[in-house]
């Protein structure tokens, strides 16, 4: 029964698709999006054609690809938090979330449905931009494979951005605060990781120049960038455009890299996709926990009177630990509840399963 159920289309996704198909919003958004792409592409095309009489400069045509790719990624990164901001917060505002939660559908399925529907919109965006993109691709001599790779990477990046947006939506009451929080988290993910990366490299460089050992200059720092969607997509675009990517850079500076780091650079896209998917899963779990009324909130009461077995003491102790873990962070106002509490939850969950095993 469960298996058959999971094969069927996620009911939330199904509903969102019906609702979205009736909404005029999405058509307007798509039109605007294509307009932006066109406004950027058009001057470049014009420049190419009018630069010389009758001659078309193919290299300039190729330039259009990285530019459009960057615009596309930027727009999607900006649009996704807005798409997803209302996913849970909107259900709360409309007071429909409670009713969803009284159905046997798990909170994770609800989150999954919301994420899939956001990604569906992204797919629409990407498909709508294909005509313009393929001009850039084809004239630039890029293969279909690059287009497909690019689309896959955009979807992976949007899954991460979408899960962040839904997570923010699940812990905020208002859509606007959800949007802002999502921008902050995505910003930290993209710019924060790059800053930290540069900082570490800088520090290592500075100290090793004294120690005079240039080996392993990069340490583990490159791992920081595995979860960075901008790096993921930029690497692909730059590799396609110039023929040089992280893989080649890695080969060049192999002596400076630890063996693991070198290995990862050789399969950068694959590892990066894995990290993206893991992060996505993590944010989805946090979101599912945040909307779960029975698990997400109070921790002190897991021990109910009914569980008077030998494990009770044990559970009580873990609960205290959990409570302490929460109390240690009382000034962490910016951090959403579930962030602070997630560790505590895991502890009590373990305690739960211990209790149930008997």
């Amino acid at each position: 029964m469960e298996k058959i159920k999971s094969l069927r289309i996620n009911p939330i996704l199904n509903k969102e698709l019906i609702v979205n198909s009736r909404s005029i919003k999405i058509s307007i958004q798509l039109a605007l999006y294509n307009l932006i792409l066109m406004l950027i592409a058009l001057p470049i095309f014009q420049g190419i054609v009018s630069s010389d009489i009758g001659r078309i400069d193919y290299v300039s045509v190729m330039q259009i690809y990285p530019i459009l790719a960057a615009v596309q990624c930027a727009v999607i990164c900006l649009a996704i938090p807005i798409f997803t901001a209302s996913s849970i917060a909107g259900e709360r505002e409309r007071q429909t979330l409670d009713v969803l939660l009284t159905t046997p559908v798990s909170t994770m399925s609800i989150i999954r449905g919301k994420l899939l529907s956001a990604m569906f919109s992204v797919l629409l965006y990407v498909i709508c931009s294909l005509p313009i993109m393929s001009v850039a691709f084809i004239f630039g001599g890029m293969s279909w494979l690059s287009i497909i790779k690019f689309i896959i990477l955009v979807l992976v990046a949007s899954a991460l951005a979408g899960s962040i947006g839904i997570f923010c939506s699940s812990i905020t009451k208002k859509t606007i605060s959800s949007i802002i929080l999502a921008f902050v988290i995505i910003g930290v993910l993209i710019f924060g990781s790059i800053t930290l990366f540069s900082l570490i490299i800088g520090i290592i460089e500075y100290t090793t120049s004294y120690l005079n050992s240039s080996k392993y200059k990069f340490f583990f720092a490159p791992f920081l960038l595995l979860g960075n969607p901008a790096v993921l997509i930029a690497n692909q675009v730059i590799t396609d455009f110039t023929g040089i990517g992280i893989k080649d850079v890695g080969k060049e500076i192999k002596s400076n890299l630890m063996p693991y780091v070198y290995f990862v650079t050789q399969f950068w896209t694959l590892f990066s996709i894995i990290v993206h998917l893991l992060l996505t899963k993590g944010f989805m779990k946090l979101a599912a926990r945040a909307i779960n009324p029975v698990k997400g909130k109070s921790k002190k009461n897991v021990l109910s009177d009914s569980r008077g077995n030998a494990n009770a003491k044990n559970i009580n102790q873990t609960n205290k630990m959990a409570a302490n873990a929460v109390n240690n962070n009382p000034n962490d106002n910016n951090m959403p509840d579930s962030f602070v509490n997630s560790s505590a939850d895991t502890v009590t969950d373990n305690a739960d399963s211990m209790g149930n095993d008997n």
Binding site: I18, V19, L100, S306
Partner: protein, 331 residues
């Protein structure tokens, strides 16, 4: 069907439910009455798994609702006090959506959905958009939605609020049908007389506790038994009061300008005896009636919310009158 033992719920320091105990048998229509903030919604949300209790036990059909809420969700249908609907969704799609949330196949459940829409009188609206329905229609749609998985326990939080008398009547009919179908129904309301007509049992809640509960018939009997009698007489009222005071089963004697009000402890036989007794003692009776007590009076009584119904402040107790009313200021 539903058993609640020692349920406690705190919001921060505020105790919303304080050792609540409740039992509802299968097939009962249980009315949950209480003033604002008594904890009715809180109780219902805990039973539905929308809120975590601090301590206590909840069993639905023998299943521990607090620890395996997923099994409970197929047994309970919930109609919240405030509910929203989706934009751009038609009534039939709304029902399909919730059917799929319960894992039903759209085609298998079509007949059921039509049946439910029929039950709540929305058959002709199945292709309308839900956000375009009137409040009463949305309410009924919500009831139909809550019934889609054929729950054994239906929980309705103030379903009659915001409805006009006609919609209220229709809702009442729907609930009565469901009661006849053997569903256990827990329903909260402020509208007491209606609950009396609809419910088989009633529980009165206050400050997170169940003050009293019982079968409607029993409560009616009890109230009838405890209702004060109003006596009017041509002769001197003070004399009549003295006579009344001699009788063992009369209590709470008080009087106002033209009547004596007293409580009689006993059945109709005792009332008949009282009348013949008064007459034999030459009290010239011109009026003797038992006050009509309804749920509302009982409710106000039990919840200590003594809203002046007939201006009880005007009443002076018989003792005060006898003593010249000099200490009346103390009340």
């Amino acid at each position: 069907m539903l058993t609640i033992n020692h349920l406690c719920k705190r919001y921060g320091k505020f105790t919303a439910l304080n050792d609540l105990n409740l039992h509802i048998d299968r097939g009962e229509v249980f009315g949950f009455i209480g003033p604002n903030g008594a904890g009715k919604t809180t109780t219902m949300r805990i039973v539905c798994g929308l809120l975590k209790a601090n301590s206590g036990e909840v069993y639905v059909d023998g299943i521990d609702a607090l620890n395996c809420s997923s099994a409970i969700k197929r047994k309970v249908g919930y109609v919240p006090d405030f509910f929203g609907v989706y934009d751009n969704l038609k009534v039939i799609e709304y029902m399909d959506f919730f059917a799929s949330m319960y894992g039903y196949d759209k085609n298998d459940i079509r007949e059921t959905i039509y049946g439910l829409l029929e039950l709540v009188n929305l058959s002709d609206k199945q292709d309308s958009f839900v956000d375009g329905l009137s409040r009463g229609m949305k309410q009924r749609l919500c009831v139909a939605r809550a019934l889609i998985h054929d729950p054994e326990l239906l929980i309705l939080d103030e379903p009659a609020s915001g409805l006009d008398p006609r919609a209220r009547y229709e809702l009442k009919e729907i609930l009565r049908n469901l009661g006849d179908m053997g569903k256990t129904i827990l329903i909260s309301s402020h509208i007491l007389p209606e609950l009396g007509e609809m419910c088989t049992s009633i529980g009165i809640m206050e400050k997170g506790r169940l003050v009293t509960s019982g079968k409607v018939d029993d409560i009616n009997d009890k109230m009838h038994g405890e209702a004060p009698i109003h006596i009017r007489t041509l002769s001197d009222m003070n004399e009549a009061v003295i006579i009344l005071k001699e009788m063992p089963n009369i209590s709470d004697i008080s009087m106002n300008e033209d009547e004596i009000i007293a409580k009689i402890n006993g059945d109709d036989e005792a009332v008949a005896n009282l009348i013949s007794n008064l007459i034999s003692r030459n009290v010239k009776l011109i009026g003797f009636e038992k006050e009509q007590v309804n749920l509302e009076t009982l409710f106000l009584d039990l919840t200590g919310n003594k809203e002046p119904k007939k201006g009880p402040d005007d009443f002076l107790s018989a003792d005060q009158i006898m003593n010249g009313g000099d200490n009346s200021g103390e009340n």
